[in-house]
Symmetry: C2
Subunit: 445 residues, 2 copies
């Protein structure tokens, strides 16, 4: 409770990997910190696809921000949404209040990008939030339920086709998990349909899956996914998505449609609109084509040396000259760096340029299959998979989550069961029919 009026007030927007790393760095330092997030938890997004496919519960990968930061008396947490920023007067606007700051770390993240086809978001949800993951989980398991009881073979087929758009790490992980689910977990659970006949499709516009990885690892991932039963279409773009169909077009112009009730969007991110709010304020802040803020070498924005942008919202060049990807390690290093820069600035020291230390990147495909890229060398198969599991467990913020996820994974590995399959926590109730209007209903003996 030692929030003194003399200390500088640092506001951090976003409790994801970047914002949380910044807050931890500023914990018990001589500054007053306010961390603002829409939610009261930090979400371990890299495992969100396991929530969507019934392997983990949201609670397993979400930690209360207050619990993580409870030992830092100088950090206040505000559950609210920032809707505008005025960097010229150092004030930001949330849904409920106006807040002055001395320093601002903007770590507001990204959202799904439909490249001008925003209406697809209704039928092709992305995988960014707990709500997204639970929505996808509902749809997957409701589709199998509908297939089991449908008397229309076309509809049955559509319910059992799953199309994942985008062959980056999220798309690869999602399609691998769907294959594991349909071809193993659910294989004995239905009487009229056979989940082993489900179609799982992965669509990628580039020439190979995991286009950001070395070619050898893409080939390994392609082979491992195919072995799991995933049908991969590379060089293929999405023409249109509706509630029961996806229409595709290859780069050579060939068209193809897939009847499907389930399209999952993993094709791209665009930045939180707060970046745009910054740029239109006439502050000399400019954005790249996905809406990321083009920051200075010290992660500050435009002329504002007290405003730092980190994580998915920042366009930062790595040592190779290419922009860094929107992944957790980048966000964490940037958040930590921005926090340290603020402490340096308060002590009157000059700001340093940010340098990313690349420790490699990984994507899991399924049981005993993953790829890991360490720059100088790559790994695939069981070793990469074990490494992936260890790295992900160790990076879960709270030790309690680590224990529970480890237990869940060990059990799932032994049994291939996925127990977190409940449908519809907030399902709407339809009006009741009565025997009087029962003539329209199916009659089952």
């Amino acid at each position: 409770m030692n929030l003194t009026t003399e200390s500088s007030h640092v506001v951090i927007v976003g409790g994801g990997f970047g914002g949380l790393a910044a807050a931890q760095q500023l914990g018990n330092q001589p500054v007053d910190v306010t961390l603002i997030d829409k939610n009261n938890y930090h979400l371990f997004q890299p495992l969100l696809y396991q929530v969507a496919t019934g392997g983990l519960s949201p609670e397993d990968i979400a930690s209360p921000l207050r619990a993580i930061l409870s030992s830092y008396d100088n950090i206040r947490i505000l559950m609210d949404e920032v809707v505008d920023i005025s960097p010229d007067v150092n004030v930001l606007l949330t849904r409920n209040r106006m807040i002055d700051y001395d320093y601002l770390i903007l770590a507001a993240g990204s959202e799904n990008h439909y490249f001008g086809n925003e209406r697809w978001s209704e039928v092709a949800p992305g995988l960014k939030t707990v709500g997204d993951a639970l929505g996808i989980r509902d749809k997957i398991f409701e589709s199998f339920e509908e297939a089991e009881h449908s008397s229309d073979p076309t509809r049955q087929k559509a319910c059992m086709n799953f199309v994942v758009v985008g062959g980056g790490p999220t798309g690869v992980e999602m399609s691998g998990a769907l294959a594991e689910l349909a071809y193993h977990t659910l294989q004995d659970d239905f009487r009229r349909v056979d989940p082993r006949e489900a179609g799982i499709y992965l669509i990628e516009g580039e020439v190979r899956v995991l286009p950001g990885y070395p070619e050898k690892l893409s080939t390994d991932a392609h082979r491992a996914l195919t072995k799991l039963g995933v049908k991969i279409f590379t060089n293929t773009l999405v023409n249109d998505v509706s509630s029961n169909l996806v229409s595709l077009r290859t780069r050579e112009g060939k068209e193809k449609t897939i009847a499907t009730n389930n399209v999952i969007w993993a094709a791209g991110n665009r930045s939180n609109p707060l970046g745009k709010n910054l740029s239109v304020s006439g502050s000399g802040i400019s954005l790249d084509h996905t809406g990321r803020v083009l920051v200075n070498q010290d992660l500050s924005a435009g002329e504002h040396s007290n405003l730092f942008v980190v994580g998915d919202l920042a366009a930062v060049k790595g040592s190779s000259g290419e922009y860094l990807q929107g992944v957790a390690p980048v966000a964490m290093q940037e958040g930590k760096f921005a926090a340290r820069s603020i402490l340096r600035s308060i002590q009157g020291q000059s700001l340093l340029p940010f340098r990313y230390r690349d420790r490699g990147s990984m994507a899991v495909i399924g049981r005993n299959a993953a790829v890991a890229d360490f720059g100088r060398f790559g790994l695939s198969g069981t070793v990469a998979w074990a490494l992936w599991a260890v790295v992900h467990i160790m990076n879960l913020v709270e030790f309690g989550n680590r224990l529970v996820v480890m237990t869940q994974w060990a059990w799932d590995y032994l049994t291939r069961k996925k127990g977190a399959r409940l449908i519809g926590r907030n399902r709407e109730v339809k009006a009741s029919p009565s025997f009087a209007d029962a003539s329209q209903l199916k009659h089952t003996a």
Copy 2:
């Protein structure tokens, strides 16, 4: 897939303790079984209060019905809601279809009972479903968030008062868990309010808490709850509930109000309305005052020897002549019995009368504190608590859930942390304010 047309068709309505026990008994027997439930999971309701207070996730205590019953080829599962039954023609109506049956086991359970004050359900939710528990969890943690940022002391107080109505096992468990949460788990998590100053109230109309238990155990429970910090008002009835106030009246006529944002209803159950649908069909089936079906000694209803009612929906007398309580062991024994009766009936054997084997009942109060009533003797304190934990772990249907809940409990016991505190999985987004209308907002430095 060997559903032959010659076999009798047994329909089970409800996948709770009663319906599931019946289904398991009929698994791989020479009958065709259809199990109908609104949800695709079996819910372990006795631990729902731990979901409401952030200790467990819904997935930890919900098991997919298809997974539990996957090895029984003669069981079909239908996720649907039964809305009417015509016992004279052996047909039932769901939201989507009409279904003929040869035998029916009705295990539709109960809902919250507000004794004619149904409008209270809006502000004083009960604890019957996953949706109920998540709604209560949201409200509890949102209240602490609001208290932290409110500048109105009256509102702050209301946000930090929790009133549990009903001193039966559910009310005792819920108030004990709330005390654990506020006075231990959250103690360092806030900066402007101190959760240790929260008020937790338990209201009971009878002369003592746990009125169904022996007096000595009620006294032990009362003492243990008081030690935890729960304020108990016995002999006290609820006059009215609104969104920020509860007004109470003692049996002697004294009135009292508590400013509170959080009222949790644990005061009573009434049966699923399907019982009423049965009774109005003129079939000679009658109900007791809470809507339970007054079944025959063999659990059949009225003149219908092919219709069995089990669990919370059935009014069944125990050996002492009193009606059995709506608890899991009663429902499970009844479900199993009804299933066996159907198999006897098919084989031309006569039906036997149901007899309940009472193995005791238990309620947990908190860390190291519980009471257990075994008829001839009672237990309280650490031994009862350990026994409670073992019995509940062993009764979770799936081994995977047992492992995960055990891990979670062990961790929580060691640390008093409760990690499952995420607010609002499906929260609505409010309209955005802009700087233009910011004059009405609070301004925070």
